[in-house]
Point group: C2
């Protein structure tokens, strides 16, 4: 007797061969995939407690969202057509200030409910693994644990270019980071991970970056860092360090660690070659880059050179959603029009970017990212029976260009059914949303008088 049998679906395995099984089945026992194959073969071989009929559904490995800031879910819809820095200073900073004030008082509920809300949206849109680069709030992982998502908290660190009243002392940051790591790394049978997230190369001083690198080496965990999202960053680093961002990161040894570089828009050819040399994974956030007018990452070069490019939504304040099908579709459209060439990217590759490439970026490719025997059972069922996906054409193409996030019907994470028929089974959705709404109101109220006072408080 096995736990779950999914039958009669179109199984897009995302395995090495990119196998698609037209009438396929997946067998799950405990947290892992026990078997994958044609329905007729597996149905006669296994008896299951739960049988999920996936007729007219696509069965995929869950999406891996390689970059987000979950707390921003409180702020969705806040930025429209403001310049990036105005919006950061006028809208995000006040919220960060309030959040920081609360952290100092050991009131951790804000990011907890924001993260739960963000995870609800993520799961509803088919994400089974999410990485959030967020502050040192110990309850973010509690949200992962409770809702049942595979979650990675990349601990956001910074000691410069942040208003002093928001910045925590370095010693406290490192202390809190170690506490969170000890409590949460590999919690829930490995479903929860911790890594380090120095925000950008310029927002940490060189000595702090070196401390962070040393810590990541001790922990043997990857580092995630924003790189070259906007030209001003590149200029600043050139001015301060006399090197391009990637050159700088190479020089201090950061790239010797497993690195996930986010955005990677404004890179020189030399920098791109360094990315390749060090096997740096790139987290591509097309919707955020478009909405903020940041620019276009050179996807064709990356793919041609074999750089591992994964997809992400970025935070819900610059997108403004956590819908990976939206990110996939935006990537498809953006690169075709940028290069005025509809052959520059295909749906098959885009779906791999959102699944197995994401797993590889996070160092989890042996555990997740494809539907293969012995991998963790992170699986989503996407309905293809609605008017907008009929008549069915090429399934990969339709998932990328026709399907909506709301077509995700069922989500299984680590062998547990977390969403069934679009209802999350692990938390009370309405309660979480109401708490998140209450907290947003409180934050806005508490931040009303606050005006950020910017000062470079670098150590070096």
């Amino acid at each position: 007797m096995v736990d779950i049998l999914i039958r009669n679906g179109i199984v897009l395995t995302q395995d090495r061969q990119g196998r698609v099984i037209q009438d396929g089945a997946v067998v799950i026992d405990q947290s892992r995939i026990l078997d994958v194959g044609p329905t007729d073969q597996l149905v006669s071989k296994y008896q299951a407690d739960i049988v999920l009929d996936a007729s007219k559904q696509a069965v995929l490995p869950g999406f891996v969202n390689t970059h987000s800031h979950l707390w921003q879910s409180l702020m969705k819809g806040s930025a429209d057509n403001e310049p990036l820095q105005d919006w950061v200073f006028n809208q995000l900073m006040p919220i960060l200030y309030t959040s920081n004030q609360r952290l100092l008082k050991e009131n951790f509920e804000g990011e907890y409910y924001a993260s739960l809300l963000a995870c609800i949206e993520s799961i509803r849109f088919g994400t089974t693994t999410i990485l959030t680069m967020d502050g040192l709030n110990p309850r973010i992982c509690e949200a992962f644990q409770q809702i049942g998502i595979r979650g990675i908290h990349a601990l956001q660190m910074a000691d410069r270019w942040i208003p002093e009243e928001i910045l925590q002392p370095i010693e406290k940051q490192v202390h809190d980071a170690k506490m969170i790591y000890r409590r949460w790394h590999n919690a829930s049978d490995g479903r929860i991970k911790i890594m380090l997230g120095p925000c950008t190369p310029y927002i940490c001083s060189k000595s702090y970056l070196e401390d962070i690198i040393e810590l990541a080496r001790q922990w043997n965990t990857p580092i995630q860092i924003h790189v070259a999202e906007a030209p001003y960053e590149v200029e600043l680093i050139m001015k301060e360090q006399g090197r391009t961002p990637i050159n700088y990161l190479e020089s201090i040894g950061l790239l010797d660690l497993k690195t996930i570089a986010v955005h990677c828009i404004w890179l020189s050819d030399e920098e791109k070659n360094i990315l390749k040399k060090y096997n740096v994974a790139v987290s591509h956030n097309p919707e955020s880059n478009m909405k903020l007018g940041s620019g276009v990452m050179d996807l064709p070069w990356m793919l041609k050179q074999g750089v591992n490019v994964a997809l992400a939504t970025d935070g819900a304040a610059s997108n403004d959603n956590l819908n990976m099908l939206g990110a996939i579709r935006a990537a498809s459209l953006l690169h075709r029009v940028t290069h005025k060439d509809p052959t520059i990217i295909n749906s098959h590759t885009l779906l791999r970017m959102a699944t197995i490439n994401g797993a590889r970026a996070l160092g989890l490719e042996k555990e997740i990212g494809s539907i293969e025997r012995d991998k963790r059972a992170d699986i989503i069922l996407i309905d293809l029976s609605k008017p907008h996906t009929r008549p069915l054409g090429n399934v990969e193409n339709m998932l990328v260009h026709c399907s909506l996030g709301s077509d995700v019907e069922t989500v299984i994470i680590d062998g547990k059914i977390v969403m069934k028929d679009r209802t999350i089974l692990t938390v009370n959705e309405e309660y979480v949303i109401k708490e998140a709404e209450r907290i947003k109101c409180e934050y806005l109220e508490e931040a009303k008088e606050y005006k950020p006072k910017i000062r470079d408080s670098a150590r070096t």
Copy 2:
């Protein structure tokens, strides 16, 4: 006693002042809007047969989709990363051939069911007015009539660059066009309209274009035409006519008529100024332009100069959907990234492009496109209560960047509730889809042996 009272919604009127009523109501009697205002005022003033509670919903004029090819709904998901012309010749032409063979045998059901399916998708995603540039099939308007959408059939005309075996003789085209015009123009109390759709400036000979202009003058209807979608078109027209496309259309008097120019990507500054001078409306199809790698229309110039830009999905074979919220979002993201400037466009303008600008493009601005007293009651209710739209930020911004087509809950067209709680009330959705699927299979089977033989069969 009035027919319908919508209450407690956030009413985004799209009227001249762009009024948003936070707790608003709309009163509908027969096919028209009788009153709009705050809920508390209107509730005490009117008794209604049907009361729709729009709490936590946005109430908008229905979207106006100014360009599509409805029959392509059979082909959604067929094109992935093929060059445009390969796809046209290998995938679209065979279907057109079969369709033409059937038309010659007076078998009209293909486009009828394809159009019904496309209208189902359109309505489900909030479109209340759709223009389709489609062949001379008399049953397309029958589909509009039956499902209850506001429909415009722009009769597609061509006498060159189409394989001879697909092309109908000009005399037959004009005869059929007149038949369709007589039967359908202003049918269903004006809900259905006919206009002329010479496909592109180069796909009609000059003399045929002149005939079409004369016919449109007699009918007093607008003309819709694709213009400057790709550089090769511009080159071809330059070579044949010694003028740029818009110059050419001006020279033959086409722009003296009310004109809707579709795409308008590869225009010179001179051409853009001519568009402005003649008050030509531009139908902008961002997702199609992106997917096909066509290029980027100069939206900031158009908006700055006061050119009326409306939005559209294009056909479902090059998008691959009929989701206007997708088109709105794509336009937002595309122009911000193209100009590397997040302030280049805002959500308020984007929603107007999808509603009142569309109405104006089609010459229907006195009848539809905004929620105002005496206008036709074409109204949609979009749910804002789901996790991905909470907590609520700026509503316009959230509709553009967070909402999905599937959030459209209720659709009223010409005062009739056509969709309620995501169920279409006027046709049997499953029956229509099954018929469309059957027909797609038949088309593919019948077209199996067909290889298009291209020849320029121009008269001039």
